[in-house]
C-alpha cells in the first residue's frame, strides 16, 4: 500500500496524485487511441455511444451527484442541443460555430430552468424537470417550421475544416473522445475550484452552505447551466451519430437511462459516469448475445450432465422461447436497477474501490469499511 505524504493544498488537489495514475491513464489513453484500428465497426459505433452517454453522465453528475439537484429532464437538454445543430446546419453554419451555439443555447435554457428550480426540493424538483422535458418534447413535435415535427430532421455528416467526417469514421470517434476527455478534465478542474466546492457544500447541507457565505441560488443556477451546456454539446454529437432526429427519441425513457448511467456507475466520482455509460450501452449487444447463444450453451451443459439428446433439444427450445419473450429486456432492466440500488449503492466504481482496497490491505480487509450506516427516516417536510 502506498502512503501519500501531503504537505500542502497543492498536493491535495493534484489531478494525478502519484505516478501510478499517469501510467495507468496513459495506458488507457493509448488503448483508446488504437481502438478504431482494432475493433469491429459495430463495437466502434457502440464506443462512440459510450463517449456520448458518458459526457451526458458527467453533466448529470455535476448537477445530481455534486450539487444534489435531481433531474429527470436531461433528454430535453440533449434534444435542444441536437435540434440546434440540425437547424443551424441547414443554413451552412460551420461545425465549430453551431457546436458552440448549441452548448450556449442549452446552457441558457438550463439556467432558465434553474431559476424556478431554486425553490424546489427533492420530489418537487424531479416532477418539475419531468414537466419541462414533456413541454420541450411537445414543442419539438409541434414547432414544424423549425423542427419538422414528428417527421424528424435529417442531419448531414459534419464537415470539419473542409473535410467531411462520416459518422462511422475513426475521426468522428476521436472527436467524441476529445469532447469526453475535455469535459472530464474541465469538470475535474471545476470541482477543485471554489465553484465546485460550493456545489458540494450545497449538496451536503444547504443551510450550512448558506451560513458559510455560499450564494446558494447563484450556484444552483450555475450548476444547472453548466450541466445543461455539456449535455447540449453531447446532443450535437448525438445528432450527428444518429444522422436523423425526431421528438420520440428524447422521451422520459432516455432521461431515466441517463440517471441509470450515473446510478450504476456510482454517483460520487466521475469514473462512475464512464463505467455506467459502458454498462448501459453494452447491455444491448450483451442481451442479444445471450438471446442467440444462451439456449445452445444451456443445452450443451445439460447434455454434459448426462441428459439425452432429446431432452437437451427440449431444454434448448424452451430456453430459446423464454429468451425471445417480448419485454424480457424491460424486466432485466428493472431487476438490474433494483439490484444495484439494494446491493451496490456505490455503483460499479464503488465495487472497483472495494476490490482495490481488498488487495491493498490483503489479509486485513473488512467489509464494514463500506457498510452503510443504518439511518432512520426523518421528515423532510420540515426542511
Amino acid at each position: 500500500m502506498r502512503f501519500l505524504f501531503k504537505t500542502d493544498y497543492e498536493d491535495d488537489i493534484r489531478l494525478f496524485p502519484h505516478s501510478g495514475y499517469v501510467v495507468s491513464y496513459g495506458l488507457l489513453f493509448a488503448v483508446l487511441l488504437i481502438a478504431p484500428y482494432v475493433l469491429s465497426s459495430y463495437l466502434m459505433s457502440q464506443l462512440v455511444f459510450v463517449c456520448i452517454y458518458a459526457t451526458v453522465g458527467v453533466a448529470l453528475l455535476i448537477l445530481t451527484g455534486f450539487t444534489g439537484q435531481a433531474s429527470l429532464g436531461h433528454a430535453a437538454f440533449l434534444a435542444i442541443g441536437a435540434y440546434t445543430a440540425a437547424y443551424l446546419q441547414k443554413y451552412n453554419v460551420p461545425f465549430p460555430v453551431y457546436f458552440l451555439a448549441a452548448g450556449v443555447l442549452t446552457g441558457c435554457i438550463g439556467a432558465l430552468v434553474g431559476f424556478p428550480a431554486l425553490r424546489l426540493q427533492g420530489i418537487y424538483l424531479v416532477i418539475a424537470t419531468i414537466s419541462f422535458a414533456f413541454i420541450v418534447e411537445e414543442i419539438l413535435a409541434r414547432w414544424e417550421s423549425v423542427t419538422n415535427g414528428n417527421e424528424g430532421l435529417r442531419v448531414k455528416a459534419l464537415s470539419l475544416l473542409g473535410v467531411t467526417v462520416s459518422r462511422d469514421s475513426p475521426t468522428f470517434y476521436f472527436l467524441c473522445l476529445a469532447v469526453l476527455v475535455l469535459t472530464i478534465v474541465g469538470t475535474l478542474n471545476l470541482l477543485r475550484s471554489p465553484t465546485g466546492r460550493a456545489f458540494v457544500a450545497i449538496r451536503d447541507s444547504e443551510t450550512a452552505a448558506r451560513s458559510m457565505g455560499v450564494n446558494v441560488a447563484l450556484y444552483k443556477v450555475k450548476s444547472f447551466a453548466i450541466s445543461a451546456a455539456i449535455t447540449g454539446f453531447a446532443g450535437v454529437l448525438f445528432a450527428h451519430k444518429l444522422s436523423f432526429i425526431s421528438p420520440e427519441m428524447f422521451t422520459l425513457q432516455l432521461s431515466i437511462e441517463f440517471i441509470i448511467v450515473i446510478l450504476i456507475g456510482g454517483t460520487f466520482s466521475l469514473h462512475g459516469a464512464v463505467l455506467g455509460a459502458i454498462f448501459i450501452v453494452m447491455i444491448d449487444p450483451f442481451l442479444t448475445y445471450l438471446k442467440d447463444d444462451m439456449p445452445g450453451v444451456i443445452a450443451g451443459i445439460a447434455a454434459a450432465f448426462g441428459a439425452g439428446t432429446v431432452t437437451a433439444g427440449n431444454i434448448q427450445s424452451k430456453v430459446a422461447a423464454f429468451a425471445s419473450l417480448n419485454g424480457l429486456k424491460g424486466a432485466i432492466y428493472g431487476v438490474i436497477i433494483m439490484l444495484f440500488v439494494l446491493f451496490e449503492p456505490l455503483g460499479l466504481y464503488g465495487r472497483w474501490l472495494k476490490i482495490k482496497l481488498f488487495f491493498q490491505l490483503f489479509p486485513l480487509y473488512k467489509r464494514a469499511t463500506f457498510k452503510r450506516q443504518k439511518i432512520y427516516v426523518k421528515s423532510e417536510r420540515n426542511r
Binding site: 426540493q121 418537487y124 414537466s131 414533456f134 443551510t207 424480457l328 436497477i337 440500488v341 439511518i375
Partner: protein, 291 residues
C-alpha cells in the same frame, strides 16, 4: 354551455382516476416519505388481477373486485418487504430509482403474462347513462367519482382519527422516535403499502370500463397522477383528489377549447406555474427547517 358542463363532468371523472392513483402516492409518502414511482404499475397489475378473476374465471364482479384488492394488498406488502424496506431511510433518490426499476419489471412481466392487447372488464356500470335535462352522464364515470369521494373520506378519517393512522403519521415524522414510543414501524410501513396497493387496484378496476387495461396504462396514467399529487401538496389526502380533479379538468378543457397538442402539456404548464408560486403545492405544509 352544455358542452362546457359535459367537458367539466368528464374532466372531473378523469381527474378522479388521477386522484385515486395520486392517493396511493400520497399514502405511501405520508407514512414513509417514500415516493413510489411504481404506483401506476400497481394499478395496472390490479386491473389485470381483476380481469383475470372476472373476465377469465367468470367470477361475480364484486367477488372478483374484492379478490383483486386482497391479492394486490398482499402484493403491495411483498413489494415493500423486498424492494423498499432494505433501503428505507437512505436518500430519497435511491428509493425513487428502486421503484422506477420495480415499475419496469412489473410492466414487462405483465406484458409477458397477459400480452400487450387491450382488455376490458364488464362492470355493472358499463352500460346506461343518467340524463339530467339534456345533460348525459355515463354511469361508469359517475361510479369513479363516487368511489373517489368515498375512498378519500375513508382514508382521511383513517389517517386523522384512528390510532393506526396516527402511528403512520408519527413514523413518517421521525422513525426512531416512533420506535421509542413503541410503534411497530415495520408493520406500519407494510400496512400502508398494502393499503396503497389496494387503493391502486380500486383505481384500476374502476378505470377498466373508461380506458382499457393494457400493460402500459400504469405508466401513462401514473405520469398524470404524479403532477396531481404534487399539485395538491404531496402530503395531503384531500389535496391529492383536488389536484387530480384539477389536472383532469384542465386536460379535458384544453383538449376541447385549445388547438391540438395542448391537451398533453397543459397540465404540466399549470403545474410548473403553481410550483413557481407555491413550491410546496396547493395544500402542502410549509414549515421552516430547524438547524
Amino acid at each position: 354551455m352544455l358542452d362546457f358542463v359535459q367537458q367539466l363532468v368528464s374532466g372531473v371523472a378523469l381527474g378522479c382516476v388521477y386522484g385515486l392513483i395520486a392517493l396511493g402516492f400520497v399514502l405511501v409518502y405520508k407514512a414513509t416519505e417514500v415516493v413510489n414511482f411504481a404506483q401506476g404499475d400497481l394499478m395496472m397489475l390490479g386491473g389485470f388481477f381483476a380481469f383475470t378473476f372476472i373476465g377469465m374465471m367468470g367470477l361475480n364482479y364484486w367477488i372478483g373486485f374484492a379478490g383483486a384488492v386482497a391479492a394486490m394488498a398482499l402484493f403491495g406488502m411483498l413489494a415493500e418487504r423486498i424492494v423498499v424496506r432494505p433501503i428505507l431511510g437512505y436518500p430519497q433518490f435511491s428509493i425513487i430509482m428502486a421503484t422506477i426499476g420495480l415499475g419496469y419489471f412489473l410492466r414487462s412481466v405483465a406484458g409477458m403474462i397477459w400480452g400487450t392487447d387491450d382488455f376490458k372488464i364488464d362492470t355493472p356500470f358499463s352500460q346506461g347513462v343518467l340524463r339530467i335535462g339534456s345533460l348525459v352522464l355515463a354511469y361508469d364515470k359517475l361510479s369513479v367519482i363516487a368511489a373517489t369521494m368515498i375512498l378519500c373520506t375513508l382514508l382521511w378519517l383513517f389517517f386523522n382519527k384512528t390510532t393506526l393512522g396516527t402511528a403512520m403519521r408519527a413514523s413518517s415524522e421521525n422513525m426512531l422516535a416512533a420506535y421509542y414510543m413503541g410503534i411497530p414501524v415495520k408493520r406500519v410501513v407494510s400496512i400502508v403499502w398494502a393499503i396503497s396497493a389496494a387503493v391502486a387496484t380500486c383505481a384500476g378496476v374502476l378505470l377498466a370500463p373508461i380506458t382499457f387495461i393494457h400493460s402500459n396504462v400504469g405508466l401513462v396514467l401514473g405520469l398524470k397522477a404524479f403532477p396531481a399529487a404534487v399539485l395538491g401538496g404531496f402530503g395531503s389526502i384531500p389535496g391529492a383528489v383536488v389536484g387530480g380533479v384539477l389536472i383532469g379538468v384542465i386536460e379535458s378543457m384544453a383538449g376541447f377549447y385549445l388547438p391540438e397538442g395542448w391537451k398533453d402539456v397543459a397540465p404540466y404548464i399549470v403545474l410548473l406555474a403553481v410550483l413557481l408560486l407555491k413550491p410546496e403545492g396547493l395544500f402542502g405544509l410549509h414549515a421552516r427547517k430547524k438547524v
